[in-house]
């Protein structure tokens, strides 16, 4: 069974890759612009550059994204669960969230620079902050909607608040949390373009922007392929987590 599902997964992925390549080819032929090279050109640069250039950049970005996602999850999930459980705290924090959430965090860059310097810390904190908001909102909304029946059931066992979180709120919200991590991953990769444009010469975001600036579109798209692959791998990881930890949902 697992083997079969693995083969079929590989199969669909391959077909998808071929289809994407085909669409790409057609589009690049239609557009006839250097800004959108045909897929084989990008693939060729990808192959050439993978070990020499792309890998180190990917590693740096992976590190930044990985740390940020983890920190954001470690802070955001408990806070979200707390707010979703406690109507009072929620009512008090909601205006704060609602006022600050829509403000793009980019504008706080100067403050971050002063407080944290121009090194990796400010970059990681920036990604973390943005992903954190997404995780908090998703987790809170999920925790708000946890069926009261389950809470009562575990409360009747005289569970402490901590145990309620552990046995009810967390598992009940886990599917939503994993969704928010997936979204957070997408967001984090997008923010790479923001934070890897200052004071660094490393990272896949820098690589792509730099290739773009020097109008080296084949390199740029090689970077995009690498980015897609990196995201794909983290995604697979999250998906496996979902299969494993949420096997109770419509098993």
């Amino acid at each position: 069974m697992p083997l079969k599902s693995l083969t079929s997964k590989v199969y669909t992925t391959l077909i998808t890759v071929l289809l994407i390549g085909l669409a790409w080819q057609i589009l690049s032929m239609l557009l006839e612009t250097t800004a959108f090279p045909p897929p084989w050109e990008a693939l060729q640069s990808f192959g050439e550059l993978f070990f020499s250039e792309l890998m180190p950049h990917l590693q740096v970005s992976l590190y930044r994204v990985g740390i940020s996602l983890m920190v954001a999850a470690l802070l955001g999930i408990p806070l979200g669960l707390f707010l979703g459980k406690n109507k009072r705290a929620d009512a008090w924090s909601a205006p704060f969230l609602y006022l600050t959430f829509p403000v793009p965090k980019v504008v706080f860059l100067p403050i971050f620079l002063i407080l944290l310097g121009i090194g990796d810390v400010s970059k990681i904190v920036m990604i973390t902050l943005i992903v954190f908001y997404q995780i908090v909102v998703t987790t809170r909304d999920a925790a708000r909607n946890v069926q009261h029946e389950y809470v009562l059931s575990v409360e009747s066992l005289r569970a402490s608040t901590l145990e309620l979180y552990r046995h009810v709120y967390f598992p009940a919200c886990l599917p939503s949390i994993l969704t928010s991590l997936k979204l957070g991953l997408g967001t984090a990769m997008a923010i790479l373009f923001l934070v890897e444009t200052y004071a660094t010469q490393e990272g896949i975001g820098y690589f792509i922007m730099n290739s773009w600036s020097s109008l080296a579109y084949d390199k740029m798209f090689a970077g995009i392929i690498a980015m897609g692959l990196m995201g794909f791998l983290i995604y697979l990881l999250l998906d496996t987590c979902e299969k494993f930890f949420c096997s109770w949902v419509n098993p």
Binding site: E149, Y150, L152, S153, V154, E155, S156, L157, R158, A159, S160, E163, H167, V168, P171, A172, L174, C246, S247, W248, V249, N250, P251
Partner: protein, 254 residues
């Protein structure tokens, strides 16, 4: 005998969308330690509401509710079987049953042993790795029973615990509860719709009537717990009396 449970002029009102639904009005009852009380009454008369208050789940009540002289939330020795089972869909049968022990701080082999024992008694051991959604209705109900029995509580609150069981399994369960009661002397409050069950188990039978829920009658029933009595004339007479008492309910509300 000391009263384990004392309720005095309990009132519960549900508020929903600005509308108030009175669910219990001026309910008083006592249950001595080591006795079995049975609550019987028409659908929607507030039985589950009453049980939730006693279990400490509903803190939104007026009146006095005491378990061993303390408010319900303070009591650690209560176990409740919810009407809708209250199984956690993300835990297997085994984990659902073990959860209470885990929360009580009982772990390791002792917890595993007790869990295994109760599952065996209820004929569920072969289902231990399943999730609740993979069980039949009656199997779920038995898991809910196992979940509270495994705790060895001082007070066992049961909300229609055998409603989804076939007649035979039901009798087996009744016998099991009775056996445990005789062995450990715990106090039990059971809600049931089955008149025979109320008479077979309830030393004190509380008859409720709706709109809003009140206790209309309290019957002391010496036949309770007597296996022999089940078929006898006396037993049937009490059943009939109870049936009559139930018929006299308020018609206005339906």
């Amino acid at each position: 005998m000391k009263n384990y449970l004392t309720i005095e002029s309990l009132n519960v009102v549900y508020a929903q969308n600005g509308q108030l639904t009175p669910a219990l009005k001026d309910v008083s009852l006592t249950l001595p330690q080591g006795q079995i009380g049975a609550i019987i009454g028409p659908s929607g008369c507030g039985k589950s509401t009453l049980l939730n208050v006693v279990a400490g789940l509903n803190k939104n009540y007026q009146g006095k509710v005491l378990l061993k002289g303390a408010p319900p939330q303070a009591n650690n020795e209560v176990a409740l079987i919810l009407q809708e089972y209250g199984l956690l869909p993300w835990k297997t049968v085994w984990d659902n049953v073990r959860l209470g022990l885990q929360i009580k701080g009982i772990a390791g082999t002792q917890a595993a042993q007790r869990t295994e024992e109760i599952l065996k008694q209820l004929g569920l051991l072969h289902l231990r790795k399943r999730f609740p959604i993979q069980l039949s209705g009656g199997q779920r109900q038995r898991v809910a029973i196992a979940r509270s029995m495994v705790l060895h509580p001082e007070l066992l609150l049961m909300d229609e615990p055998f409603s989804s069981l076939d007649a035979l399994t039901r009798e087996e369960m009744q016998d099991l509860v009775l056996k445990v009661w005789q062995e450990t002397g715990l106090t039990i409050l059971i809600i049931t719709h089955n008149i025979e069950e109320a008479v077979f188990l309830g030393q004190k039978i509380f008859v409720m009537s709706p709109c809003p829920g009140i206790i209309t009658q309290e019957i002391n029933n010496p036949l309770a717990g007597d296996y022999e009595a089940r078929g006898k004339m006396e037993f049937l007479e009490v059943c009939n009396a109870l049936r009559l008492s139930l018929r006299g309910r308020c018609q206005a509300c339906l």
